[in-house]
Amino acid sequence: MDIPPLLLQTAGSLAAILALAGLAWWLKLGGAPVLVGDSDIRRVAGEVEDGFEPLDWAVSQDHTAALARDAEGRIMLIRLHGNRFAGRILGTKAGAQAAGDTLTVGCGETWFGKTRLIIANPTPWAEAINRISEPCHA
């Protein structure tokens, strides 16, 4: 039986892809960065949107997510994505629910997903997020 070259090439490439991704996993490449100090928050917030300067913030207990607010009152959600951080300035489609010390925040984008933060006193953050009426900037 003749196997079409494209099929053969595809199967070979797929095998190589799985092998290389498996190797990256096996070698434990990546690591797990965390948001530890003020400088981390400022740096990552500036990466999400150039010039964003947090005035106050709340970092999740596991240090993988944070909320930051700037002088204009904009609120930025930051969370770990792989071994990098990604974030959004929250807009009108954002929503948040507080339950105990857990705050669940969504920026309104299906594929960005919802982020769960364990923080002290999450209710004021939830209320602030749910009050947002400006369009999403990020």
Partner: protein, 325 residues
């Protein structure tokens, strides 16, 4: 007519090179790779190959038709005209510069090319992160002038293949800088890191494929500075490892914008630069850079240092030791 596809032969070398870079990463910079990101990038590569096989015939048909109207004829044995090969390679690289520049400045084309940029990592697997939808942007039309000049479509395809192979190795943080003369003429890891960066100073710079001289010639060159950490990806990072979302997100965003826009602005969402909006609610790369420049202070901005963190070379000792061009 030679039946030769250089990229097919290069695939095993690509795999070996990624393997070697992973070992380097294990020893020197484990954060340079992330397994899920690697899987997505390589899946992009596979899908791109399949899409090329399925859709590439249209471009070939256009080239063969255009070849009937060529200005110069290299004869039946066009492949034996030795000097035509380097000339074709250089002109093809010039065409690549422009199609690449258009890929960043026209949202229709960016919708496909964004795939290559949406990883927040910069390693050899990123090089293989190629679009599935490039054929929908008609970028191949930028090479039609070469066909009309008389270069056979097969010669152009072979030169493009070598161009693509050249661009593979520059997707790495393992090399800081090449020798000064090389950096001056050729595209290098340093120059191309700039291209993949989202730092405002680097946005939409260094479009070159093989020869960096095109950027210097057309005013889009930006050297890598040593005291500013590069962040890779796109201005609005995906934040998702969903492959299909990664492939189609910008197409969905663009079509959604066109659908919602007032009639007189619809075409602008197709043809203007990414980030443009009719109500000014978003930012283009030029606006982001202008805001950054304003914030940093106008005077001698090119010499200034933005947030001081470790550069690629500082983080990767193996890459240190060369002088900038």
């Amino acid at each position: 007519m030679p039946d030769f596809n250089p990229t097919q032969y290069a695939v095993p070398l690509f795999v070996i090179a990624v393997l070697i870079e992973m070992i380097w990463a294990k020893l020197r910079a484990p954060e340079a790779y992330e397994p899920k990101d690697t899987l997505i990038s390589l899946s992009f590569g596979l899908g791109s190959t399949i899409a090329g096989a399925l859709l590439g015939g249209f471009a070939l048909a256009v080239f063969i038709e255009a070849y009937q109207y060529r200005l110069f004829d290299f004869g039946l044995q066009w492949w034996a005209v030795w000097w035509a090969w380097p000339v074709c390679f250089v002109l093809d690289d010039l065409a690549y510069y422009w199609v690449h520049r258009a890929g960043h400045r026209i949202r229709w084309m960016w919708a496909a090319h964004v795939n290559h940029h949406s990883s927040q990592h910069y390693n050899l697997s990123t090089a293989l992160r190629q679009s599935w939808t490039g054929a929908l942007t008609f970028g191949f039309l930028f090479a039609v002038p070469l066909v009309l000049l008389g270069f056979h479509p097969a010669m152009i395809a072979i030169c493009s293949g070598f161009n693509l192979i050249y661009q593979f190795w520059i997707h790495t943080e393992a090399i800081k800088r090449m020798p000064r003369w090389f950096e001056a003429v050729m595209n290098t890891p340093s120059h191309h890191r700039v291209h993949h960066a989202t730092n405002p100073r680097y946005l939409d710079r260094n479009y070159a494929g093989v020869f960096i001289v095109w950027d210097k010639l057309f005013g889009t060159f930006e050297p890598e500075v040593d005291d500013e950490a590069i962040r890779y990806g796109i201005v609005k990072q995906l934040g998702s490892f969903n492959l299909l979302w990664a492939v189609f997100h910008e197409w969905i965003g663009m079509l959604s914008d066109i659908w919602r826009a007032p009639l007189r602005h619809k075409l602008s969402y197709l043809l203007r630069e990414p980030g443009w909006s009719h109500d000014g609610s978003r930012e283009t790369s030029d606006m982001i850079r202008a805001r950054w420049k304003s914030r940093m202070g106008q005077a001698h901005i090119g010499d200034e240092v933005a947030p001081a963190t470790a550069s690629v070379s500082t983080r990767n000792p193996i890459a240190a030791g060369s002088e900038p061009a």
